[in-house]
């Protein structure tokens, strides 16, 4: 008796030891290496980098291993690590027009300079379990082609040349860093984009899907989806010019959306934009749709009361680390709150019973 709150420290230590044992699993099965996770579970690694906001495949792989494959837990590990890192400076904006594309498709034009490049995609695979993978097999030789030497132009540039798509005004103001400044509303587009790019893939996907089903429908076409490597450059004050400090893999999606125009403005297409670390195209397309839905006010559209139009709703709930922490905190003891509710309910029941008795006595 009266043991429930005792021995917390030992219980925690033991729980953690058990967790470590479970993580390793059956000792007769070979242990996963970080390299194996990085190379063979690369899309999981990409998701952890994207939502963890840290481009480091090895760390992401380590986080996946440590979290037993629970990707939100892995993202959490990366985020907690990321906050401790010193900041040396800010890189220049990456030039996605210079991307070395592994994949580049457009749903709006059959062909365009740079062509349609399918790249390593699940699209058009038949989703049949491949039992050959259950056995260890030799790699099949893959045909290779020369990469394109010149940059691949953005599809929307062709529309912009004809003035058929809205031009995004260039804005050189330094964007707010949502990991260094508290969120406030209304938020500008750069702030929204930061929140969405690290937002939970499932949440952003569902919101995007809801716009397609009519909750603030905006008729999106994938103008272009491209995946590839871009150089990261940084100005070095001591040198006085920018140097390459590395490269990152990015997925970029630009949607082309309907806009009927108004009395004063001729009809023109509008844009939604998604940019995410790694090969993460489901997320990038979703982000573009939600970005577009959130622009209703700027583009003079109606507030249809749809969830995807509601900036405060979207941005304050898209972060899965915030969401999972707060959701799971209800596992923590709430004896005190519950006790005070219990006392109140008892008191109110007592008063109700007394009142009923008094009424009966009066009759």
């Amino acid at each position: 008796m009266y043991v429930a709150v005792k021995g917390g420290e030992r219980a925690i230590d033991n729980a953690h030891a058990w967790l470590a044992e479970e993580r390793r699993g059956d000792l007769s099965v070979a242990e996963l290496s970080i390299a194996q996770i990085r190379e063979q579970l690369s899309l999981a690694v990409n998701r952890v980098m994207a939502e963890g906001s840290l481009f480091d495949p090895d760390l992401a792989a380590l986080a996946i291993k440590q979290s037993r494959g629970d990707l939100i837990e892995a993202i959490f590990l990366i985020r907690a690590y990321r906050t401790t890192l010193p900041r040396f400076g800010m890189t220049r904006p990456v030039e996605t027009g210079e991307m070395r594309c592994d994949r580049r498709i457009s749903a709006t034009f059959k062909d365009a300079p740079g062509g349609q490049v399918l790249g390593p995609t699940f699209d058009y695979t038949h989703r049949l379990l491949d039992f050959k993978l259950a056995a260890e097999g030799e790699p099949v030789p893959v045909p290779e082609a020369e990469g394109r030497a010149e940059p691949t132009p953005h599809i929307t540039e062709f529309l912009a040349d004809e003035d058929l798509i809205q031009t995004e005004p260039r804005d050189d103001t330094e964007p707010r860093d949502i990991t260094r400044q508290p969120m406030s509303y209304p938020a500008d587009r750069a702030t929204r984009a930061q929140a969405l790019t690290r937002g939970d893939e499932g949440f952003v996907l569902s919101l995007a899907y809801s716009t397609q089903r009519g909750y603030a429908k905006n008729h999106a076409f994938v103008g272009e989806l491209r995946i590839g490597m871009v150089d990261v450059e940084m100005e070095i004050p001591e040198l006085g010019f920018a140097i390459d400090i590395g490269e990152v893999q990015l997925t970029e999606c630009e949607t082309v959306n309907q806009f009927k125009g108004s009395k004063t403005e001729p009809p023109q297409f509008t844009r939604g934009y998604g940019l995410v670390f790694g090969q993460t195209e489901r997320k990038a397309i979703s982000m573009a749709l939600v970005d577009r839905a959130l622009r209703w006010e700027e583009l003079g559209e109606d507030d249809k009361g749809a969830p995807a139009q509601d900036e405060e709703f979207v941005l304050s709930h898209c972060d899965n680390i915030q969401a999972t922490g707060f959701l799971e905190h209800i596992k923590l003891p709430h004896y005190v709150d519950f006790q005070s509710e219990l006392e109140l309910v008892r008191k109110m029941r007592r008063e109700a019973a007394d009142a009923a008795a008094a009424r009966e006595a009066a009759q």
């Binding site: 917390g8 907690a80 401790t84 508290p182 707060f326 923590l332 709430h334 005070s340 109140l344």
Partner: protein
């Protein structure tokens, strides 16, 4: 000594601590006002005390003695976890004795022993906005605070009485601070509300919601009520079954399948020190066995 040696004192880097301290000072200057701050991602989940931990980390010095309680108890799992975190990252002395501590981080309780002007009480806050359940939008609630439009808060209390005959809020009972800001005292039982006019500095940290607020020593803190339905800081109508205290907040423990119960102090340090001083409750003899 440990893997945490590579981190800064109390985990957070000094620049971030300065940012948090500025928010704390602003909070102290405007009692009850929720100061936005750039909450960092901590190595424990949001909702588990990240706000309190950041405030404690910014307030801690190497000479401090830290006490951490959850539900009033030093040995509940989350309290143990947070205390361990600071033992590892700051190497500060810790204590379970309320009067010995210089900083007390708490979740859901104010200690029974009266705090002194040399102490800081740091609350973990899940939802800092007292108006949140009346109005979900931050843009709206901030406007309500800035314009001091608190009619809606009293409408809620009015509705409680008209429906239940009582103000049906038992914890996180809203208070008016310094005649200006309506504030959420965090989910402490309303029994603790009157203690908030105290000698110690009270700091509130909400990590996920990125807010810090504060109540300086001896600031006026009034629990909202009606003249004819005054605030009632009630608790279970029992003495503690272990130490016999009649003035402490009690947890109810179910003892057996027959539903027998015992009531014990939720403040474990208070209960222990009373028993050490020779006080005995109804079941004291049995539990010693």
């Amino acid at each position: 000594m440990s893997v945490m040696d590579e981190y800064n004192f109390a985990y957070i880097d000094e620049q971030t601590k300065r940012m948090i301290r500025r928010a704390i000072l602003k909070g102290l200057a405007v009692p009850g006002y929720q100061v936005p701050f750039a909450s960092r991602e901590m190595p424990m989940p949001y909702g588990w005390g990240t706000g309190g931990v950041q405030v404690s980390a910014a307030a801690l010095t190497p000479d401090d003695r830290l006490k951490v309680i959850d539900q009033g108890a030093d040995d509940t799992t989350n309290a143990v976890s947070i205390r361990k975190f600071f033992e590892r990252t700051a190497g500060v002395a810790t204590t379970e004795e309320t009067s010995e501590a210089t900083i007390i981080q708490t979740r859901h309780r104010i200690p029974e022993v009266e705090l002194t002007e040399d102490q800081i009480l740091v609350y973990q806050v899940p939802i800092p906005e007292p108006l949140r359940f009346l109005e979900p939008r931050e843009t709206e609630t901030r406007k309500m605070h800035s314009l001091e439009e608190y009619g809606l808060m009293h409408v809620k209390l009015y509705e409680d009485i008209s429906r239940h005959g009582n103000i049906a809020t038992a914890f996180a009972y809203p208070v008016m601070v310094n005649d200006r800001y309506v504030m959420d005292p965090s989910p402490i039982p309303k029994f603790d509300n009157p203690k908030m006019e105290m000698a110690a500095v009270q700091l509130f940290g909400a990590g996920r919601e990125q807010r810090i607020y504060a109540v300086p020593p001896w600031t006026k803190v009034v629990s909202l009520d009606f003249e004819d339905y005054p605030f009632d800081p009630s608790k279970a109508d029992h003495p503690c079954d272990l130490c016999g205290a009649e003035d402490s907040y009690l947890d109810e423990v179910i003892l057996d399948d027959a539903g027998n119960r015992m009531f014990v102090c939720s403040d474990t340090d208070y209960c222990r020190s009373r028993r050490e001083a020779g006080h005995e409750g109804r079941l004291a003899a049995e539990t010693m066995a």
